[in-house]
């Protein structure tokens, strides 16, 4: 190819060197956390620091999973995340179908209103949302988490899906309509099956956002048994600020699903980011 692509050997080496240093900086805190989660309490803050736990112990994991109630928090997080993600995907794709495939009065205005949700940061609404949840009796309940997680994700998911639905050829839908299929059947049997990549992208982003959400859960959940993982970990750290081994064992448990999902669905991340951000 050209001079541009080949580059000099020194240039390539420098490029790799920079990337290697950068990615080491990215990964080291994770490795250090992992290492600390296997340390005995006496060794978590020694000078010089221990990078390889000596002796290594599984006690922190046994404690987190056994006596500290983390299976419960894990289950809470899982239930809330799965329900919110599924609910958001269903409701958002219904809205996206209406916006992408039908013409009706007020469509543009409604869509603009929906996009306001993309511009207003969620934290700005937390005080009135708290009062609303209180009024509706949703405080200290998983339902309160699920309802507001779904509401918060509607704008982005509808926006992403609408773009995808609009690309599906009209002839396919017309053919089905000719065969007597109503809109509900067309939605479930044509639009949704053809949109699997977009649905996958929206699912992953929603799943991770809900799994990691902290501020809202911190605000409305007061019964410890109802906590999700991020709140439980933070609370545990607040009560035992020096038990770093245990805190990090719990953290490792909390981030394993995230890393697994991320590695399995990387392709969708790139697609989602580019369709959601750059292309529009």
């Amino acid at each position: 190819m050209s001079a541009l692509v080949t580059g000099s050997r020194a240039g390539t080496a420098a490029r790799w060197g920079l990337l290697a240093v950068g990615s080491i900086v990215m990964v080291l805190p994770f490795l250090y956390m992992l290492s600390t989660s296997f340390k005995e309490q006496t060794f978590v803050l020694t000078i010089p620091p221990q990078f390889i736990p000596q002796p290594a112990t599984l006690q922190n994991y046994r404690d987190a999973w056994g006596t500290q109630g983390f299976p419960r928090y894990f289950l809470n997080s899982l239930v809330v995340t799965v329900l919110s993600t599924a609910g958001s995907l269903l409701i958002s794709s219904m809205m996206a179908y209406a916006f992408a495939r039908f013409r009706f009065r007020g469509r543009e205005v409604l869509f603009r209103v929906l996009l306001i949700g993309l511009m207003v940061p969620t934290m700005m609404l937390i005080i009135p949302q708290f009062l609303l949840a209180k009024y509706l009796g949703l405080l200290d309940s998983m339902a309160g988490l699920v309802v507001f997680y779904i509401a918060g994700s509607l704008s982005l998911n509808t926006f992403l899906l609408r773009g995808f639905f609009a690309e599906i050829p009209a002839e396919l839908e017309q053919a089905m309509e000719m065969d007597g299929a109503g809109p509900v059947r067309r939605f479930f049997q044509l639009i949704l099956p053809l949109s699997r990549p977009a649905l996958a992208t929206a699912t992953i982003f929603s799943f991770l956002a809900n799994w990691d959400e902290f501020a809202w859960a911190l605000t409305i959940i007061t019964t410890p048994e109802k906590n999700t993982l991020p709140v439980a970990i933070n609370l545990f750290h607040g009560q035992n600020s020096t038990l770093w081994g245990l805190v990090f064992a719990a953290s490792v448990i909390a981030i394993i699903p995230v890393i697994v999902i991320f590695l399995a669905f990387q392709r969708h991340f790139v697609q989602g980011l580019t369709s959601g951000a750059v292309k529009g």
Partner: protein, 317 residues
């Protein structure tokens, strides 16, 4: 030069009006409304209504308990903010956080994206490693950094015992500016992968042939970057800057977990202060006023930035 005339990656796609019109000549009746209803009702109730209520609350000394009546204050809550030294400190802290994290994230993200924008065997691996912090929960990474910056932590050990840059331990989270530095380092570390990913996508749209012909003409790497790459990725650059500034206003969890605004309110940022006012001090009206101010600021800044970028883009193409 036809390639240059082509508009760069489009910043927003219009509603596919023409396509839908062709598809549905007749009125669609009730059907679209039935599909919209569940989502729209939820959205109006849980997002739009609270938005308006935030403004209403900001005009009252809002009482939550039943039986207590809320006193109408007009704009007193806003006036109060201007006389509140902690509000100003929080504003400055948020500004400092933004001033540190936004430019560094843009530059590092772009640098990594450019380094990665060539076919290489380990490219996918590097991309994953840089993006890993982005998908990890704020609580977990904040705890990680609290541990790294602890008095007896690794950072102090590296500065004192390994490099000898400092004599004793720095109490990073015990002082306003060192704490803001630690919080900013966390923000950069967590965010670089995101801007990298956006820039990587935008770089796919840079005309290769143009870059190569510029190289044949003897243009250096920097000149090529300014003449070819930069104009092509400008919309992405604008998008990243706007999103990062908004993100800077939104810094919350890292501060809450690492310092909780302390010591003595020294490291409050706007959102942690708002949160404390509402949920620790019961000052719902005053907290709501702060949220409204913040929302307005975010709107104005993003509009100004978009306009500034659009102006520069006009002259670049």
């Amino acid at each position: 030069m036809t390639v240059l005339d082509r508009p760069p990656v489009r910043a927003s796609a219009p509603v596919p009006r023409t396509a839908a019109r062709a598809r549905r000549p007749r009125g669609a009746g009730l059907t679209p409304w039935l599909f919209l209803a569940p989502g729209m009702i939820l959205f109006l109730a849980a997002i739009i209504y609270p938005m308006m209520q935030a403004f209403q609350m900001s005009l009252y000394d809002w009482k939550v308990l039943k039986g207590l009546s809320s006193e109408f204050l007009g704009f007193d809550n806003y006036r109060r903010a201007f006389d509140d030294p902690i509000f100003w400190r929080a504003l400055v802290n948020s500004g400092v956080y933004m001033a540190i994290t936004v430019p560094i994230q843009v530059v590092l993200g772009l640098l990594v994206a450019i380094l990665l924008n060539r076919k290489a065997p380990a490219r996918a691996l590097f991309r994953v490693l840089f993006y890993l912090p982005v998908v990890t929960s704020w609580v977990v990474v904040s705890l990680m950094f609290k541990y790294l910056f602890a008095d007896n932590g690794v950072i102090n050990w590296a500065l004192r015992d390994v490099t000898g840059l400092t004599d004793g331990n720095i109490s990073w989270l015990g002082d306003r500016w060192t704490a803001m530095a630690a919080i900013s380092v966390l923000g950069i570390w967590k965010g670089v992968g995101w801007s990298m990913m956006i820039f990587l996508a935008a770089l796919q749209g840079v005309p290769r042939d143009l870059e190569e012909s510029a190289a044949v003409d003897g243009a250096g790497a920097l000149a090529r970057f300014r003449a070819v790459t930069l104009p092509a990725i400008f919309p992405a650059l604008a998008f990243v800057v706007v999103m990062l500034v908004i993100g800077g206003f939104n810094v919350f969890t890292s501060v809450l977990v690492m310092t909780d605004g302390g010591p003595a309110q020294q490291t409050q940022v706007l959102l942690t202060y708002m949160y404390q006012l509402a949920f620790a001090d019961g000052e719902y009206g005053y907290g709501a006023a702060m949220a409204v101010l913040l929302t307005i600021a975010v709107f104005i800044i993003s509009i100004l930035q978009l306009r500034a970028f659009r102006g520069r883009m006009g002259s670049a193409t």
